[in-house]
Symmetry: C2
Subunit: 291 residues, 2 copies
């Protein structure tokens, strides 16, 4: 059968291919797939790029959705702009993980950011993102961006350079990304923060992974003077309620939030805005009770 007739079958609706991401094997999201654009195995993980009906192109690592065309604005905006507008004037950012380049792309919206270093362990993730996602390609083409293919935990241990903002845009706490949830890693990150610096890490779903949140805050609360969770809605992530940890020794995310600057700069966003900045730190009672 020729490729032309394969396409025809798909258009006629005979083609029913579904991809599901399950939580504990008991519940999950399921997506109707037009076509598998890429499937491969890097040194570290399985990598798939799917073209889906409702969410467009999707990057799937080890069977978990990382980004999709339709909802790729929420996570990168919330991990980048929240620390940016709580900082007194950030000029440099270190991104651990984040091989899709979308968080880098959000930092690049701020002309005051002069330098972004990104450290992802898996070169193939960056390659495939550049190949299939135009926004990733644009981010990695910017001369302000320096890419390292390395273990993020090793990188921060050995680095002399300091940063104004460090974000951990890593995968779930399973190898190779599990070290990004360890106390030693958090301490090393603090060591290479400039005075007035801010550290932000993704911390999983408070609904499906309450234990991760409990554990990580015990450690972060001892390392940083300020360690506060904030949340965002991400429809393709398990339970769709996602949490981040905002940590700093000097900058409070609400008291030091520069609302006027945030309003006046009018960067283009689809989720983040000055009201959302503050609102994302208001926690549902069941999350409050975890911490």
């Amino acid at each position: 059968m020729s490729f032309a007739s394969l396409t025809h079958a798909e258009e006629e609706g005979f083609w029913n291919l579904w991809f599901s991401e399950l939580h504990k094997g008991n519940v999950g999201m399921t997506y109707k797939v037009k076509r598998i654009l890429y499937s491969g195995q890097s040194r570290f993980q399985r990598i798939d790029v799917l073209d889906t009906h409702e969410y467009g192109r999707m990057l799937v690592l080890y069977g978990s959705v990382m980004i999709s065309d339709r909802d790729d604005f929420v996570y990168p905006e919330m991990i980048a702009h929240v620390p940016y507008y709580a900082h007194a004037g950030a000029r440099s950012a270190l991104v651990i993980g984040g091989g899709d380049g979308l968080a880098v792309g959000e930092f690049l919206k701020h002309p005051s950011i002069e330098r972004i270093v990104i450290v992802d362990i898996d070169e193939m993730v960056i390659e495939k993102c550049k190949e299939f996602f135009p926004r990733s390609k644009a981010a990695f083409s910017d001369p302000k961006v320096e890419v390292h293919f390395a273990d993020g935990a090793e990188f921060v241990k050995s680095r002399d350079e300091r940063f104004d903002i460090i974000i951990v845009d890593g995968a779930d706490p399973i190898p190779p990304a599990d070290v990004l949830f360890h106390r030693q890693f958090h301490e090393n990150c603090r060591e290479i923060l400039n005075t007035g610096g801010i550290f932000v890490s993704q911390t999983e779903s408070p609904f499906y992974n309450p234990d991760v949140i409990k554990e990580v805050y015990t450690s972060l609360g001892e390392i940083f003077r300020i360690a506060m969770p904030y949340v965002a809605w991400i429809p393709t992530y398990p339970s769709a309620l996602w949490s981040f940890a905002f940590c700093s020794d000097t900058r409070h995310p609400l008291e030091q939030f520069d609302r006027d600057r945030c309003l006046s700069e009018e960067i283009e966003t689809r989720y983040y805005n000055a009201d959302i900045h503050a609102a994302s730190f208001a926690l549902p009672t069941f999350i409050r009770e975890l911490i």
Copy 2:
């Protein structure tokens, strides 16, 4: 085969029954089901009660999840307590739809509420909820609660009694619940609100159903002096981001929010709290742009 061996197969993990709720046939949530506790057809719709692994018991109407044991706190808390604490001193509430009784249960947490009238078109929904969900049974047993089995739109048209709070806890805008999204219904609700009254309606997912939101706010914005959307995260609802419309001629949900009373009364909730009240009116940019 005896029922005992059926149960055995289930425990051994041989039993793989999945229920999925799809959006546009292209994406959805999928749940592993232990057992179907009830399946039937009322005069108005198909009714199922499922026992699922991750979410416990679930009420499913016309194939859409309405409530589950695990996440049944978010929706009823957010549709009841937001108007309650924005009101100067509500004593009566009218619930249109809401046959699960959970919103009624939230109003009953406030001793100042003396009377709750609930109007659901489908008696069988209430019957089945009382049979399978203990919280529903408790709500409907309270002497403050008066139940009518009637068309909500007809009920408000012919009613003389007035209410301090009216909430529309109806299903999606397809028959029989589609009339609850019509302008005439909203106008009739306003007619039977006491002075200082508040009207709240669920208004679907802003991510999957932006057209519903656009349309409903055109009408609500002309009928009420104040018509403001607020959002909540509900993991079993399509996209997990849900919206509600807060409407009143005199009460602003933030300026007239009685934060001190909310904090001092300490009602037991798992999602709603004073910070969430305010934060739920902060809208992601893509929702702002709809309205």
